[in-house]
């Protein structure tokens, strides 16, 4: 897949876009918890990115801009789902059963890693999202706040809750712990 040489692709730098796809997929995987839904979300995000290409300021961080779009696309899709099923909510469903391991279990060779992933699945999507952006993507807190359209203070409190929850879950697994195969 290459751009025809010399074509003045309007708006977005395509090589940067392609380079951003793996990270978009990872973020989507953390949001949706499921590979095919995640890729659908990435595709929707890229399509939305092209629609909004005039909003992107050349030279700014394309990845962060795409993360913002993805977050919004996801929240909108969730809102549609919520309208259909009143009991679905982005943060009122910490044990979302639809959330699976973001990676195939056989790729994980350490039991504690597998456990950690399962604990991740029990965090609220809000907390997972902040944890991924801070710990894995290593974005600045201000960038995270901008992507999620929330104050930096909220980023910090979500991050703090995410880490504490993860710690408690790991420390005291409780009766709800699924059997680790």
């Amino acid at each position: 897949m290459t751009t025809p040489p010399g074509s003045d692709a309007p708006g977005l730098p395509q090589p940067d876009l392609v380079a951003a796809i793996p990270r978009l997929r990872r973020y989507a995987r953390v949001l949706t918890g499921e590979a095919s839904r995640a890729d659908d979300l990435v595709q929707d995000t890229l399509a939305r990115g092209w629609e909004k290409r005039r909003m992107w300021r050349s030279g700014s961080d394309l990845r962060a801009w795409l993360f913002t779009i993805m977050h919004n696309v996801y929240v909108n899709q969730l809102a549609v789902v919520r309208r259909d099923a009143a009991n679905v909510s982005i943060d009122a469903d910490p044990t979302n059963p639809a959330w699976q391991l973001p990676v195939r279990a056989n790729q994980i060779d350490r039991v504690e890693l597998l456990e950690l992933m399962q604990q991740m699945g029990r965090l609220s999507p809000d907390q997972r999202e902040v944890l991924l952006l801070a710990a894995v993507e290593e974005l600045r807190y201000e960038e995270i706040a901008s992507i999620l359209s929330i104050p930096v203070g909220t980023v910090m409190s979500r991050l703090s809750r995410a880490r504490n929850n993860l710690r408690q879950l790991v420390a005291e697994p409780g009766p709800g712990l699924r059997v680790v195969k």
Partner: protein, 263 residues
């Protein structure tokens, strides 16, 4: 030197490498004198490392073609393939969904009019109706087996066989013709020493693919049904599933042997 108070936010920023050098030095000092805090920071760092380990695996996965295609500016995408193929797939999918929904609705409508639609249900109903009839469960009794088989063969339009189930303790009682959805159905009734009855029902199945044994349960009657050689078979009885499956295997084996032999 007065240690500056360390906030919760500072701890996180420290772990994530987002704290200014001056503040980070303050946290370093605090860690040296506070083992509990040091342990917590170490744990948070371990968490970060573990999360990175796990989620980095996603980055190594090959990017699906449709996502690469989505990164191409819409104006440059090859209209012949990228536009028409999804469109064609969309049409085909819509058509299939339409057919499927229509089929479901059709069944639902027929069901509502009181007719059991699936062969398994019909088989269970027919069995319930005739097996409980002590005096007249069949139209032609087993003493006229040859006449029975010839008659059913003629009415159904293909060679039918009444399998011999003595090996599993059942003897042929006789048989009858039963109305089906579109085609008539042949029913063979069997009975064991305890006077428990089972029925084998056969009918032509238009355009059906061969299937494995399937099991259904209707009002206390178990039914194994399958499709073979363009015929549907259903074995119905009020016995447990494993027992019925055993009998189904015997029936299947005999019918396969009968089909293989010259008619």
């Amino acid at each position: 030197m007065m240690p500056t108070p360390i906030s919760e936010a500072d701890i996180h920023a420290y772990v994530d490498g987002r704290l200014s050098a001056a503040k980070a030095a303050g946290v370093d000092d605090a860690l040296a004198s506070d083992p509990a805090l040091a342990a917590r920071v170490a744990e948070m760092r371990a968490q970060n490392a573990a999360l990175r380990d796990a989620f980095d695996l996603v980055l190594d996965e090959p990017i699906p073609d449709h996502l690469l295609a989505a990164a191409v500016p819409p104006a440059l995408r090859d209209a012949r393939h990228r536009r028409t193929l999804p469109l064609a797939i969309g049409f085909a999918a819509t058509l299939l969904i339409g057919i499927f929904v229509g089929w479901l609705v059709r069944d639902a409508l027929i069901e509502r009019s009181g007719t059991p639609t699936t062969f398994a249900r019909q088989a269970a109903f027919a069995h319930a109706l005739y097996a409980t009839d002590v005096n007249r469960p069949v139209e032609i009794w087993a003493n006229e087996e040859k006449r029975l088989v010839n008659w059913l063969t003629k009415r159904l339009g293909f060679q039918v066989h009444a399998p011999d189930l003595t090996s599993v303790g059942y003897l042929l009682v006789g048989g009858r013709l039963v109305a089906g959805n579109e085609k008539p159905t042949a029913l063979f009734m069997y009975e064991n020493a305890d006077k428990e009855r089972l029925s084998l029902q056969v009918r032509k199945q238009r355009g059906a693919d061969e299937t494995a044994f399937r099991y259904a349960h209707e009002n206390g009657i178990g039914v194994f049904y399958w499709v073979d050689e363009a015929c549907s078979y259903a074995l119905a009885a009020s016995v447990d599933r494993s027992q019925l499956l055993k009998i189904a295997h015997v029936v299947y084996g005999q019918l396969a042997a009968a089909d293989a032999s010259p008619k």
